[in-house]
Amino acid sequence: MSFAAHSVIALYAVAIVVMLLVILMAVARSVRLRRRTRTERIAAPLRPMLIRLMAADEIDEDALETLVRLPDSEWHAIEPRVFALLDKVRGRAAEAIDGLLRSRGAVARSLDETTSRGAVKRANAIVRLASLRRREYAGIFERMLQDADKDVRRAAAVGLGKVGRPESVAPLLGCVTGRRTVSPLVIGDALARIGPGAAETLAVMLKSGTLLQRKLAAEVLGRVGATSAETALAGAARTDPAEKVRATAVEALGKVGTWDAVDTLLDVAVADPAVPVRCAAIMALAEHSGTGVVATLERALGDNDYDIAHVAAYALTQLGLAGRDVLERAAARPELSAAGHATEALAAADLDEQLGRRATRRVLV
């Protein structure tokens, strides 16, 4: 064929491809819009049924009946929303929804799908099972923490947050590092939801895990308020080789520590080689009072490092009259670096008081 013919064919080819794309777009749009209206159309009359089912003090037989008898195609349109309701309510309302799901075989189906070949199916199945909040599935979730697909692992971790037991802590921590990981944020949240029961295992991990694991352990111990872990946290705050872990341990100690923790905090505030760790210690001391504390903070106020002086000034605003006294004296001596920080902290505290708000955004160091 001649070159001319080739080029004409090419021209047509381009035009045809463009046409196909346009048709594809139009079709995709129609399908999407139609699907949306269809789901809304089906769901609209059924929502009141679901509401009545949840609101009733005893089982609303009529509503249950209607929903159980729905044709499969309609049920499937609303099934995800029904599962989602379990994340919003508990008690009798949740029991009613749970019963409905069982009657429709949704639970059995979801269990089946956890072994599906498609990762999306597996992950969605876990999300649904997790909403049921049944301890008996914790084992399944623990196993699926090692799934090849990262979304499945993530869903499993979130699921353990809902139903996890202390035995789930070790497998969860195992996902922080290695080949099959889950975001530390998700694991941390799951661990925190398991609650104080996790404290023991976490305290052990605080000494023996990898850097990320130790840091996470410290963080979660602070969140679950485990005073039993105080010794472990104090030890980590003093001796852990990693700066980030020490800082996190100090923060946690501030949240859960008793009076005994103050000694550790004071030592760390003065002697730790890393600035972020000293800052964390100073912040933590803001929750405690005592002459030792105020004196240490007064010294820190004069520090050359911006972060340390800044945090010390804030902490002093939280320590009542003694703290205020220190700040006002420092503010009166403008030749020193402490004056600026003191003035700033006092002004901020006054503003907060005026506006009746807690100074939660003051220091997000």
Partner: protein, 125 residues
């Protein structure tokens, strides 16, 4: 006389559920789907109690609560915060802005109603 309750939550399922249940228990109910409409409704209908979701778009339940407390017309309104956030600081913040009670999601509707009744009874005394 029936007490008036305002329910503010961006989740339609929760709004509808609470509206249904509260109406069933004899309350007069108004609903709002975000902060600004919650405030407008509070000022217009002067409910006895407001159930506020914290995580609403545009204006959080905390901001709404604070504004209600600052406005003398609504300062005496009872406030119950409803939220998925369970951190100690959030709870403190909730009570800090003047909430009368704080309920976590997932919540039991029956329990919520009991708490509402308890608050209103306390106020009535």
């Amino acid at each position: 006389m029936a007490a008036t309750v305002l329910v503010a939550d961006d989740d339609p399922d929760i709004r509808d559920l609470l509206e249904f249940k509260l109406t069933h228990c004899g309350y007069k109910v108004h609903v709002a789907e975000d902060g600004p409409s919650a405030l407008a409704a509070a000022l217009e209908y002067k409910p006895d109690l407001a159930v506020l979701d914290i995580m609403m778009p545009v204006m959080s339940g905390l901001d709404v609560a604070r504004t209600l407390r600052e406005n003398h017309e609504t300062a005496a309104m009872s406030i119950l915060m409803l939220t998925a956030r369970a951190q100690e600081s959030d709870v403190a913040r909730g009570f800090g802005v003047g909430a009368d009670d704080y309920v976590l999601k997932p919540f039991s509707p029956r329990e919520l109603i009991s708490r509402i009744e308890a608050i209103l009874t306390r106020v009535a005394r």
